[in-house]
């Protein structure tokens, strides 16, 4: 790699933040850190990092607020949600605000580095848990299909997500389904798009509940 990827980290837990910095510092250029929503919005806008790691749970609106605000002025900036939280509505809210992926904080350092590279390359990053949430949200049995293009997953997309939920890496998914890695990435990106644009009842409900909180 000619130039290291410029990474910005947003987390209100400083201890965790310094841990991530130590882990990523040798691979990436850490260009900044922020500990709360307002600071993050201002500094990410000013720094324009390649990838921003964003904590889902933060006082003052959480990661979703940061992603939404920054992407309104800088739509090209990339976000990867990183969280302890497993409440589906929180995770879905950040993705719907514009983050390109979600991984749990327990992720191994090398996997996190890989996820950052992937997001930077324009792909989506689905952890097994996020894949599970999405399969749940887009379950076939649930009604409320308004826009078949956006409200439903194709059989292929469903297969890909299932394998990811089972713990398969993209490469392994590709081998299992006899596809190229590129095709798997395309499917995952398509799912991300649906997740962000669909008006499915469950997704709207999650977003709404998040707002009330």
């Amino acid at each position: 790699m000619a130039k290291p990827i410029r990474v910005f980290i947003v987390d209100d837990h400083r201890l965790f933040l310094s841990g991530v910095r130590a882990e990523l510092g040798s691979t990436f250029e850490i260009v900044g850190e922020a500990y709360d929503v307002d600071e993050a919005i201002a500094r990410v806008r000013a720094t324009e990092p390649d990838v921003t790691l964003i904590d889902v749970h933060m006082p003052g609106g959480g990661g979703a607020a940061v992603v939404e605000a920054v992407r309104r002025t800088n739509p090209d900036l990339c976000f990867l949600a990183l969280s302890m939280s497993d409440a589906a509505e929180d995770v879905i809210a950040v993705i719907r605000a514009g983050a390109r992926g979600y991984v749990t904080k327990t992720i191994a350092g090398r996997d996190l580095a890989e996820a950052i590279r992937r997001v930077h390359g324009g792909d989506a990053v689905f952890s097994p848990r996020l894949a599970g949430f999405v399969l749940d949200a887009f379950a076939e049995s649930k009604p409320q299909i308004l826009d078949p293009e956006l409200d439903r997953l194709t059989t292929r997309e469903r297969e890909v997500l299932r394998l990811i939920a089972r713990g398969y890496a993209y490469k392994e998914v590709a081998r299992e389904l006899h596809l190229s890695v590129k095709t798997v990435e395309t499917h995952v990106s398509a799912v991300l798009r649906k997740l962000q644009l669909s008006n499915r009842y469950e997704l709207t409900r999650w977003a709404t509940e998040r707002r009330i909180v």
């Binding site: 609106g61 607020a65 409440a87 327990t106 399969l135 749940d136 299932r162 939920a165 089972r166 713990g167």
Partner: protein, 421 residues
């Protein structure tokens, strides 16, 4: 949402004169907000609006006008802070009274007037209640309320407030009484001495006396009610806090203590994982359903058991959820067995369990990225476990497939039809 709030704030800074109050509102929070902005007790502002309403409805017009030039309230950071912030000074309150008086005279001169017989008594009574009910002295509203409720405990505090307040109470009462008397005097003179007039006089007297009493006692009653509500809220808050504290004590603190006594890093990490899982379940539990009988809970328990016994990470993903019946219990047990197997033999540091509830069947996958094996040349100990998993599934009409390859990990695939499906 957050962004929307931010926009409102910017909006307020640009051209709105002040922000309406959210915590302190009777109608739309205009008086509360204005009081906060001018540092005057909102009670004074409210009375001013009432008095000015007597001048041909000017007060109502003013209220609407001020509402238009004020901004939506920002959510108060904390309720108590909003209460404490408004203090006000005697000078400002008197100034506000004089401004209202001046406006009254102006409006009277302009002919915007409901008549001397109505407006002056009302103004007098309003002035009286302002004297009685504002908290522009150091003794704040809270202390007033406590005094009247008779629960003030500190004697010095009490004496101080009492001295100030009895004087005010008397002055305010006299002023309100004077307002009522003025009303009677002017109206009595105006009404005729017929029987109908007499009845009307009695009715008017009753109404005026009642409103006088309401002026004297009303704010006090309202305050008592508000305090009662606040007290209840506080009680609920304390109760919740105690519940959280009790839970944290029994779980997180115990685990932390346990971790301090452990020297084995693997053990420590297993303890941390178990605590994390437990805390997560507690934080995000759905209150409307008992989670203990659900598939996701059962799978989590199995994962926890394997993690503790073998010091390995077990990731679980459950899609769809349903109560555990006999068939499902078989799947759960088989998952546990497969995960244990992976923990013992694969050499991987993580096992993934994925369970999906389909309309007619349950499928489960237990996967590790460990060393794997060639199913054709299975060592005897692994075959035994594989057979036991298979046997278990077959008893419930399901299937178990084991896919493995040296160097590429192992996956146990389970499928059982649903009983009710």
């Amino acid at each position: 949402m957050q962004a929307k709030r931010a926009r409102h704030a910017a909006h307020a800074g640009r051209w709105a004169l002040f922000e309406r109050s959210r915590a302190d509102r009777w109608v739309a929070g205009v008086a509360g907000g204005l009081g906060e902005r001018l540092d005057i007790d909102p009670v004074v502002i409210r009375l001013a609006f009432v008095v000015l309403a007597g001048a041909g409805g000017f007060g109502l017009f003013l209220y609407v006008l001020l509402w238009l030039v004020s901004a939506e309230p920002r959510p108060a950071p904390t309720r108590t802070e909003a209460n404490v912030r408004v203090t006000g000074s005697v000078q400002k309150t008197v100034a506000a009274g004089l401004v209202v008086l001046g406006m009254l005279l102006l409006l009277r001169a302009a002919g915007l007037w409901f008549g001397d017989a109505l407006v002056w008594p009302v103004a007098l009574a309003a002035f009286g209640s302002a004297v009685m009910w504002t908290r522009s002295d150091e003794a704040g509203r809270a202390r007033w309320g406590r005094l009247f409720a008779g629960i003030s405990r500190t004697r010095g505090d009490r004496d101080d407030v009492q001295r100030v307040s009895i004087g005010r109470l008397l002055l305010g009462g006299v002023l309100i009484a004077a307002g009522m008397a003025a009303f009677f005097a002017t109206n009595h003179a105006a009404s005729s001495s017929t029987a109908l007039g007499a009845i009307r006089n009695v009715a008017v007297a009753v109404v005026v006396t009642l409103s006088g009493l309401a002026l004297i006692l009303g704010p006090w009653v309202a305050r008592l009610a508000r305090e009662a509500a606040e007290e209840r809220r506080e009680r609920i808050r304390i109760q919740e806090r105690e519940e959280v504290a009790a839970h944290l004590h029994d779980s997180v603190l115990q685990t932390l203590a346990l971790m301090q006594r452990t020297s084995d890093p693997a053990e420590m990490s297993a303890l941390a994982r178990r605590q994390e899982r437990e805390l997560r379940t507690w934080l995000y539990r759905t209150t409307d359903a008992d989670p203990s009988g659900l598939l996701s809970t059962a799978i989590d328990r199995v994962a926890e058991r394997v993690e503790l016994a073998h010091h390995i990470r077990v990731e679980t993903v459950v899609v769809g959820d349903c109560p555990v019946d006999q068939n499902l219990q078989a799947v759960v047990d088989a998952c546990g067995e497969a995960a244990t197997n992976a923990a013992k033999h694969s050499g991987a540091d993580e096992v993934s369990i994925y369970v999906e509830v389909e309309p007619d069947a349950i499928t489960a996958f237990v996967r590790d990225k460990g060393k794997g094996f060639d199913p054709e040349t299975v060592p005897q100990d692994r075959r035994g476990i594989a057979d036991s998993i298979r046997g278990r599934m077959q008893r419930y009409g399901g299937t178990a497939t084991i896919v493995s390859e040296p160097g590429a990990g192992t996956e146990v695939q389970l499928r059982v039809p649903r009983e009710d499906g």
